[in-house]
């Protein structure tokens, strides 16, 4: 925790400015000011670069998650309301769209009308169900809102055989466990959404509008009031801020954002199913927000993109390789300080690999697979299939070396261990992990999250918070 009272911020003021100089620093400075344009540009190009439908579908999921995370950021990141029922409103939005635009009740309203009605109704529901937030804080509110989510899921599962007065036979409202299939695609101003790509661009527009709107809100008295409430509710009230009203407003705003993204979700998958809106999704949304940094809009965006896209990237060996070596490179550039240590470590790594290869090939040729052409194979050992056990053992050794490298203090020993560790890591990776995407995917993704959260406990783009004086 930063030291209080001594003006640490002032002391660091100069060094902070210095760090932003040089071409690299200027690039960071520039992109942190223009991040929305950068994102918009990249997102527009993405579908054309990625080509196939699958990639665009991943993009759609990422944008949906981004909307959810940015909405949740208002509730949790700004106002500090631990809302565990959040995805129920995503579900409400989706079911609302399905009710008003499918054969379920034979209603087929125009898309803008459906979205407007759903948004207004869910805002109203949020105002009502948000009332407990006036008085409940922290874990009490969390438990209550989690209960809301369970109620929603139960209703969605069980409102399929309802006996109504004046109607013969049971009526199905939600379609029960089977949900509602055959939902209408969206149609706006005569344009009928036929492809996933159409929805992708619709979502992109929605996300950008949402970012602009929430940024505006954050600067307004409402947004500043929200953050003051999170900091100290009592003091905020003494400063004329009506905390109850603003808390309910934040809650209902989050609910509405979730509901609007829910309508698009229903349309893009042409159906709604209760299993889409469970605690599992809730955890994913929270993961995106926490990873990106609570209270930061670009953070929520980046967090959502990482959580939604990285696991997909890891599905193919090529993608997994890209992430693995990219990660190594970034880790090397950011974690090794001063950077001139890299001048020892990188050549050391190369020499070490060549030496090991020559040594093992000389002493124990059976272990090594026949040389394949070029590239990394001239440097790295390729084990033959019979040596699987060796690789497994080396995996354990790698972890031990990594732990040792963290624990050791002496610079020389540490660099040596680092060289050994990275070499072993690449060795295990190339010989084993990259061939088994299912394991690798979970392992790498988990490792990535752990590393990111250890490196930046307050999230990638969040600010460290100080809680106690």
């Amino acid at each position: 925790m930063p030291e209080i009272g001594t003006d640490r911020w002032v002391a660091e003021f100069e060094s902070r400015r210095v760090r932003r100089e040089g071409p690299w620093g200027r690039l960071i400075e520039w992109s942190s000011r223009r991040w929305l344009w950068l994102f918009a540009g990249a997102a527009i190009v993405y579908p054309f670069v990625i080509g196939g439908d699958f990639g665009i579908r991943v993009g759609v999921n990422a944008l949906l998650l981004a909307m959810l995370a940015i909405g949740l950021n208002v509730v949790v990141g700004y106002t500090g309301l631990l809302d565990l029922g959040y995805v129920a409103y995503y579900g409400l939005g989706a079911y609302g769209y399905a009710f008003l635009a499918s054969d379920q009740f034979g209603i087929h309203l125009p898309t803008p009308v459906v979205v407007a009605v759903v948004a207004l109704v869910v805002f109203g529901v949020g105002l009502v169900l948000g009332q407990p937030a006036r008085r409940l804080v922290g874990d009490y509110l969390a438990i209550l809102t989690l209960f809301f989510l369970q109620v929603f899921v139960e209703l969605a599962l069980n409102l399929d055989r309802l006996d109504l007065p004046f109607v013969d036979g049971p009526v199905s409202i939600t379609g029960g466990p089977n949900g509602i299939a055959g939902v209408d695609p969206m149609e706006i101003l005569g344009f009928r959404f036929g492809q996933v790509r159409d929805y992708y661009f619709l979502l992109l527009v929605l996300v950008i509008l949402l970012i602009v709107g929430v940024t505006n809100l954050a600067r307004s008295r409402t947004g500043v009031g929200w953050r003051a409430i999170r900091e100290d509710t009592l003091a905020a009230e003494h400063m004329t801020i009506p905390s109850g009203r603003l808390k309910v407003l934040a809650y209902a705003f989050g609910a509405t954002v979730a509901a609007v993204s829910g309508t698009v979700f229903a349309a893009v998958q042409l159906g709604v199913f209760p299993q889409n809106f469970t605690v599992a999704l809730l955890i994913v949304v929270y993961a995106a927000l926490v990873l990106g940094g609570e209270g930061s809009i670009p953070g929520a965006l980046v967090g959502a993109l990482i959580i939604a896209m990285v696991p997909e990237l890891l599905r193919t060996p090529a993608g997994a390789r890209l992430l693995f070596y990219g990660g190594l490179l970034v880790a090397g550039l950011t974690l090794v300080r001063p950077r001139r240590r890299l001048a020892v470590i990188v050549p050391g790594l190369l020499l070490f690999g060549l030496a090991v290869r020559a040594l093992v090939a000389g002493i124990w040729p059976g272990l090594v697979a026949a040389e394949t052409a070029g590239g990394v194979d001239r440097w790295l050992l390729r084990f033959s299939a019979s040596a699987d056990v060796v690789v497994s053992v080396l995996f354990v050794v790698t972890i031990a070396v990594a732990l040792a490298a963290v624990a050791v203090r002496r610079r020389r020993v540490r660099d040596a261990l680092l060289i050994l560790g990275v070499y072993l890591l690449v060795l295990v990776w190339e010989n084993r992990l990259v061939e088994e995407p299912s394991i690798t995917r979970q392992l790498l993704f988990g490792a990535l999250l752990v590393v990111l959260m250890v490196a930046r406990p307050h999230g990638l783009l969040g600010r460290p918070r100080v809680e106690v004086v």
Partner: protein
């Protein structure tokens, strides 16, 4: 005809900004504030003194709506404010600082003050979301207003410090920020809870002068709790001494400081005897 006008005129002139009538508060069995009568007139600086645990902060908490009194009444401009929500009491013109500082730690200096300008705004969430010209204008006005408030403290909280997070401020600057924040609510009555606590002698002198300026230049009415007798002497029009929730003395600083009951409350019976 003169006799018809006179009572109304006199009533206006003598009406207190704040009036406590028989204010009483119990915590469990403990009587913390006991039938307190107190009135503060427009433009007056009244000091509330008394030993630790006398119930001074509790009086502030009752006025600002943290607790509801068990008995008695609190009148602001002649109207009862008992039972009103805290933000409504603040909106009607009562602002306070805290003995244990409560600035919004993870917000910047400017944002701390902007937060307190909430009641002065008229733009709702929808227009803010849309970023209408009115919303932009209001945000800019609030920002300028915050800078103006902070300029009251000279060079201390302006310039680059506007963007500094409040947790990085020194203790004395946090006290100043709390005062700026209280001013920004648009209040006329300031309740200052030990504004000089934890300050060094130079800073104490400065805060003494500042409280005088708050009244003389900015026109505030001030009720202040203070332990430092130099500060109390320097600023008070009137001093009220409290012990065990009971008012034991009231009057000018000299009268109260030499009052036997006050000396006894501070030093205990033995101390009073040796003095």
């Amino acid at each position: 005809m003169g006799s018809w006008v006179a009572p109304e005129w006199r009533w206006c002139e003598t009406m207190a900004v704040l009036e406590l009538r028989g204010l009483t508060k119990r915590f469990g069995g403990l009587l913390v504030v006991d039938g307190l009568d107190l009135s503060v007139a427009e433009g007056e600086i009244v000091s509330l003194i008394g030993p630790n645990g006398a119930g001074k902060t509790t009086v502030f908490n009752l006025i600002s709506g943290v607790f509801t009194p068990d008995g008695g009444d609190i009148l602001l401009d002649g109207r009862s404010i008992v039972g009103l929500p805290r933000h409504e009491i603040a909106r009607r013109g009562v602002a306070r600082t805290f003995q244990t500082l409560r600035v919004f730690l993870n917000m910047t200096v400017a944002e701390n003050v902007i937060a307190a300008e909430y009641a002065s705004g008229t733009v709702g969430a929808v227009r803010s979301f849309l970023g209408t010209p009115a919303a932009r204008a209001e945000a800019e006005r609030m920002r300028a207003e915050a800078e103006r408030r902070l300029a009251f403290f000279g060079e201390r909280l302006v310039g680059y410090r506007l963007e500094q997070p409040a947790y990085s401020l020194s203790y004395a600057n946090r006290r100043r920020l709390e005062i700026a924040r209280a001013m920004a609510t648009g209040a006329r009555l300031l309740l200052l809870d030990e504004p000089a606590a934890g300050m060094n002698p130079a800073e104490t002198q400065e805060i003494t002068r500042l409280i005088g300026q708050l009244r003389d230049e900015a026109g505030y009415t001030i009720l202040v709790i203070e332990h430092d007798m130099h500060v109390v002497e320097g600023i008070s029009d009137r001093v009220v001494a409290l012990d065990h929730g009971v008012k034991i003395a009231e009057g000018s600083f000299d009268d109260v400081a030499t009052d036997p009951a006050v000396v006894e409350a501070y030093l205990g019976k033995g101390g009073a005897a040796t003095k």
